[in-house]
Subunit: 321 residues, 2 copies
Amino acid sequence: MDENTEKHCYLLIRDFLPAHHTIKIKSGEEQKTLETCSVIWDKMTSLNMDRHSLFINLGGGVIGDMGGFCAATYKRGIRFIQIPTTLLSQVDASIGGKLGVDFKQFKNHIGVFKNPEKVIIHTPFFKTLPYSEIRSGFAEIIKHCLIADKEKWAAIKGKSIAEQNIDDLVAHSISVKSNIVEEDPLEKNIRKGLNFGHTIGHAIESYYLDKPNQKLLHGEAIAIGMICESYISQKLNLITKDDLQEIKNFIYSIYPFFEIPDKNYKDIISLTLQDKKNKDSKVLAALLDGIGKIKINVELTPELIAESIDYYNAEKRHKKM
Amino acid sequence: MDENTEKHCYLLIRDFLPAHHTIKIKSGEEQKTLETCSVIWDKMTSLNMDRHSLFINLGGGVIGDMGGFCAATYKRGIRFIQIPTTLLSQVDASIGGKLGVDFKQFKNHIGVFKNPEKVIIHTPFFKTLPYSEIRSGFAEIIKHCLIADKEKWAAIKGKSIAEQNIDDLVAHSISVKSNIVEEDPLEKNIRKGLNFGHTIGHAIESYYLDKPNQKLLHGEAIAIGMICESYISQKLNLITKDDLQEIKNFIYSIYPFFEIPDKNYKDIISLTLQDKKNKDSKVLAALLDGIGKIKINVELTPELIAESIDYYNAEKRHKKM
């Protein structure tokens, strides 16, 4: 756990747990490194944890990904349970067995695929979650609707977050993601569809990771990425102009504008080259193929990416006029 | 590869490989750390390796275990091939998918189970291998005979290493180990039998890892461990006194004596507590149950371990007299 999940979550469940020890790390994406793993492995060793021990990760995506990776590699792997405490980690990171840490400026660059023994979902944890974190997690809910459920998309697109039935949407997202990862656990094929918005979104997130005072939450970056990749989907005639407009309007209604200056495009585009879905130095993305469907392995040229970020930025200029 | 396998092995196979890049690290067990992994991951990243890349480990156990771990965790895992170049790695490390690195003083403490795409065995690499390395690898050959093949044990026990048919014994060892790990890949059960000699042997190896001028090769430590654990096997009436005498005599005929002073027993015994097969802070070992058979999950008390090291040391005192 970290200091936040200790305060807001651990105290709620402590008395329901059998005898246990705790390992606490500092919160924040910047902690998701091999150095923190070394601290965790060291504590696991001091506690004499053996192959029969059970490791529980209580926290958001950082705790789940990194704690899961530590468990999956300690003595070549011990059992672990995920208790995701944020909206984002409940609807995304905790399902599908992707574990790991960031390396240099590359997100989740070092890791493994391994499923936890169990994932325990408890939405009352959200009561103490800042609104920005709810908004961040909501981006993955939007994504799950866009890539897999046209009707759900129609149901959510007119409403603010306050008006949504979050419990229902958490269950929906978990079901969409579980079905996909069960069919393709190692991301050889349809699982790549879950990366819609992430090819460009991850690059933007990575680019701003070490820029002071320009922190973007994961979902905020993915929201931008979804506008960009929807633009490219439309450009390739995979969705209609109306679809694109609706996606942009809905995302704009929820997320604050984050201008991406022209001078940063080059670095962001070169970061898309590090995306794990690529092959032979080509940037391959998953695009919308109509609402509720996905087309994988579509090559994105640097020109298309630049144009799509222009499209995202243009709205702001339009508003300013 | 490292500087040794570059010189003695890479140049022999270079022209048979398709277009490739090389990553070279320094040789030695002390390199088998997360720090070296970071250097390797960094180079993999610079070379733009993607999920479709193939990683080839050309070297002994350090290269295979660590390079395999780097491949298994880079972008959550890419394909890799093992080309073990030492006798030890051909008969042991390259089979069974155990990958990882040392952590603090603990051997192979951080790692995963993952099988390579292929293991390529080429015994002519041994021509340039120092005799001490051949002798080290031979300990695992002895182990495979003792735990699984009474007749093979009878065939090797009277001969020096020079008199053995090494090619035949490599094939025999690979077959013994492959059969066991295929039946129990995750070491829940019979695979533990492969750890005969390793509970005490590993602890001795770990203890001397950071002691200057007291370097023990893996097989040399395992040879000591096999004498100790055979002693305990006999003590528990699992093998006869004649069996024990034969094992000790054969190992003594091949390996130089390495005295373990009484004052080091305590630290060595406490290192056996870190063995991955343990449960609930009990030291569990795999002992001989007759020659060619094994009994797993036998608890070793600190007293038994101390007594068995005494037995190993006693021979030397006897010789001195």
